[in-house]
Amino acid sequence: NAGVTQTPKFRILKIGQSMTLQCTQDMNHNYMYWYRQDPGMGLKLIYYSVGAGITDKGEVPNGYNVSRSTTEDFPLRLELAAPSQTSVYFCASSPGQYNSPLHFGNGTRLTVT
């Protein structure tokens, strides 16, 4: 099982550029999440989805968009990159049952200059 796969692993963007971070999972999990991790801040939830066609904002959604057209895929879109979006981004999934843990991808390290 591949689990949760994120691409790319690293990316450097110039201010104002756009990009999509890809996330796919092969565990048939209903719930998927995007987090960003900044030093000393833990992980902050950007967006999440409870199933195909359903998404909702997390704690820090500004500057990002998501879509969930299939159970497997949950891409994160940055439209106008800003230096404040320099971070490590993690995608995760969960079956959604009580006490089910999160399963994480390996992360995307994004630098905006």
């Binding site: 999440y33 000393g40 801040m41 833990g42 939830l45 993690f90 969960s94 999160l102 994480f104 992360g107």
Partner: protein, 112 residues
């Protein structure tokens, strides 16, 4: 609302000595609690999770955590630290809607 407080941002121990990483939680109901570990430049790996079946939870790599409802704590312990335990550890609580809330993390340094 759910929240998690990790009481130490950095902990330093000598190899072979016990490890204690502290976590307090806030939850309106019986919580789902987890500990994750993140080695440098890696993703997050589940160490253990609390189920209501037992207050002492055993995880991977010799780690344990004890759920204490009266103290709203879920501290992580290990009897004897190994160099490979050097990492960042996150305490996590989830709510009834399967949203997960992370503590700010504790960096564990293990000295030879």
């Amino acid at each position: 609302a759910q929240s998690v407080t990790q009481l130490d941002s950095h902990v330093s121990v000598s190899e072979g000595t016990p490890v204690l990483l502290r976590c307090n939680y806030s939850s309106s109901y019986s919580p789902s609690l987890f500990w994750y570990v993140q080695h440098p430049n890696k993703g997050l790996q589940l160490l253990l999770k609390y189920t209501s079946a037992a207050t002492l939870v055993k995880g991977i790599n010799g780690f344990e955590a004890e759920f204490k409802k009266s103290e709203t704590s879920f501290h992580l312990t290990k009897p004897s630290a190994h160099m490979s335990d050097a990492a960042e550890y996150f305490c996590v609580v989830s709510d009834l809607f399967n949203k997960f809330y992370f503590g700010s993390g504790t960096k564990l340094n293990v000295k030879p």
